[in-house]
């Protein structure tokens, strides 16, 4: 069985073409980064605001905990059933899926950013203000750099959530590596399913690893001990 999976993975025919591995890999990455970008666009400013001002704290804490309980597959189906009649063509599959990916990615990013800003040493914040930094300078020069480790862990867990949910979304017709898992099951082709699953796992591990490297580059070594 393992050799069958190996055969499937090493067959060049499976890698090329519009429905090949490379194409699906690119689609998967595009969708994932698009979703993360949109989620960050909403969650980062919101998290900074809440962390900086302390307003709406309770909402964030409960949102992050509550969202974990929501089954992504169910939400995905609901979104598709609601939106499918209103959309046409490719968008009919892509739009509901991306909306779900974004919605599910917001809580981890939001709580990471919020917690990161919120845990900044009050003394450092006070000193920053006392030395004559404006509110914006305190945010960009002290709060955000100090929050980066937790911001990164929020982004990383959001990205893992997105990659996993994007895989599942193949069942509603979304492109990406999930296709091999779903299509393989439809044709009772375990080699294709398992090969696809290996690729998905590899993708998740690689993306997380790359984020980890980026984190190392971006986060000040002075914060490494506090991590």
């Amino acid at each position: 069985m393992i050799s069958l999976v190996g055969e499937w993975l090493t067959d060049p025919a499976n890698w090329s073409g519009a429905r090949g591995i490379w194409a699906q890999l690119v689609t998967h990455l595009q969708l994932s980064f698009l979703a993360l970008f949109l989620a960050a666009l909403i969650a980062v400013p919101l998290g900074l605001y809440i962390g900086h001002t302390g307003r709406g704290r309770v909402v964030v804490v409960n949102l992050a905990g509550g969202f974990r309980a929501v089954p992504s597959l169910g939400v995905l189906f609901i979104a598709v059933l609601l939106l499918l009649p209103r959309l046409s063509g490719e968008a009919a599959f892509v739009v509901p899926s991306v909306i779900v990916l974004v919605v599910l990615a917001i809580p981890p990013v939001l709580s990471g950013v919020y917690a990161g800003v919120q845990q900044v040493d009050p003394a450092a914040r006070d000193a920053a203000r006392g030395m004559g930094m404006t509110g914006g300078q305190v945010l960009t020069q002290v709060e955000i750099p100090c929050a980066l480790p937790l911001i990164f862990s929020g982004l990383r867990s959001a990205m893992l959530q997105i990659i996993a949910t994007a895989t599942i979304a193949a069942v509603v017709g979304l492109g990406g590596l999930g296709r091999f898992l779903i299509d393989g099951q439809a044709t009772r082709d375990y080699a294709e399913m398992a090969g696809g699953a290996l690729l998905v796992a590899g993708l998740a591990l690689t993306v997380d690893f790359v984020f980890g490297l980026a984190q190392r580059l971006v986060v000040s070594p002075g914060l490494a001990r506090a991590e």
Binding site: D121, A123, R129, G130, M131, G132, L148, P221, G222, R225
Partner: protein, 368 residues
């Protein structure tokens, strides 16, 4: 010079943290705000750089109303040191110290040179500049905090419990260094502490605040000890204040000649306590003739006993006299033996000295 003019702070919930506070912190001196918790001392300090806005009254720095300046501009001209240093963990020591020069838009090289200079000044020269705050001890972090406040070359510096979070042994050394530094720089300093001993040690002027943010007494430390304005100040200043007040009194005390002996000498018969000095003439300890046989060795020395400095405070003389095993207090000039003093004679001088040397500058009964 910093002037508080009828300053009141009333918080939104109606509590009055500071009530009609008026005093003048003289230029180039250290003024200490002291009092029990809840007396509004930190609030008062933070109103100077407008971290907290006064509800009434005004605060003037060298004649300029702080309310007329933009808060961020005002703060860049005022050094600010807080209890836990508040260093930025993500920036190196050097970059922490360069914060205010950068905010003032100094050019990079000037900011860097200045930062290295003040780091040297607080005793953190060398490769400390490249470290991160997390790699420093609490005392070192506080030194960086002071350096960071000095970097912008401020004429005024605010310090909120700067030494409280540091262990007592290190604290004492830091206080001494700080006094020297202040003397050299001549910065006008307002400091907050809850520790009356620290206030007396460091302050040129002390403002004692009571609960509700009212000024109980504003005076020099010796006057505070000699003439507490009321029961509250008296009990806050605490015990031993008569003795501690001697720290601020100097007077001529009779110095007796002391014929020292050296290690290796033999003591003659009939001699009781003899003082041993080293080759440079610095006192080492006392020996008692009855307990020594043969040449004097280091193990015969009785240590203990403090040294008074020639021309120093009466407290120093009295303590040296009282703590000496021989009953003769050792007085040094530099490190060298200058002679000894007798307890009865020191007490006699104390008795003859004028009962107060300072005057109360301001107390609630007699407003300025």
């Amino acid at each position: 010079m910093i002037r508080f003019d009828g300053v009141t702070k009333r918080f939104e919930d109606g509590t009055v943290a500071v009530d009609d506070l008026s005093f003048e912190a003289p230029a180039g001196k250290i003024t200490v705000l002291v009092g029990p918790s809840g007396c509004g001392k930190t609030t008062s300090l933070r109103m100077i750089n407008r971290m907290i806005e006064p509800s009434e009254g005004s605060i003037l720095i060298d004649g300029t109303d702080t309310g007329s300046l933009a808060p961020a501009e005002l703060r860049r001209g005022i050094g600010y040191v807080i209890q836990h240093a508040g260093l930025f963990p993500h920036r190196t020591v050097l970059s922490n110290v360069m914060t205010v020069p950068s905010l003032l838009k100094w050019d990079k090289k000037r900011a860097r040179d200045r930062a290295l200079e003040v780091l040297e000044l607080v005793g953190l020269g060398g490769d400390y500049a490249k470290r991160y705050p997390g790699q420093l001890s609490g005392g070192q972090q506080q030194r960086v905090g002071v350096a960071r406040a000095l970097a912008g070359d401020p004429s005024v510096m605010l310090m909120d419990e700067p030494f409280s979070a540091i262990d007592p042994v290190v604290r004492e050394g830091l206080q001494d260094e700080f006094l020297k530094l202040q003397e050299a720089l001549g910065t006008t300093i307002v400091m907050v502490t809850h520790d009356i001993d620290e206030a007396i040690k460091l302050g040129d002027r002390i403002a004692v605040l009571r609960q509700g943010g009212r000024l109980a007494q504003f005076s020099s430390p010796d006057d505070l000890l000699a003439h507490p304005a009321d029961d509250f100040v008296a009990s806050f200043v605490g015990r031993d204040r008569g003795y501690r007040a001697l720290s601020f009194k100097t007077a001529e005390v009779p110095i007796h000649h002391e014929a020292p002996v050296r290690l290796g000498d033999r003591l003659g018969p009939g001699e009781e306590w003899r003082l041993v000095v080293d080759d440079a003439g610095a006192p080492l300890g006392w020996v008692h003739a009855d307990e020594v046989t043969g040449p004097l060795s280091a193990t015969d020395l009785q240590l203990g006993g403090t040294l008074a400095t020639l021309g120093g405070s009466l407290r120093g003389y009295l303590d040296a006299a009282l703590s000496s095993p021989s009953g003769r207090g050792v007085v040094v000039e530099g490190a060298e033996l200058a002679g000894t003093v007798r307890p009865d004679e020191v007490l006699h001088v104390i008795q003859a000295a004028p009962r107060a040397t300072g005057e109360t500058i301001l107390s609630p009964e007699e407003p300025a």
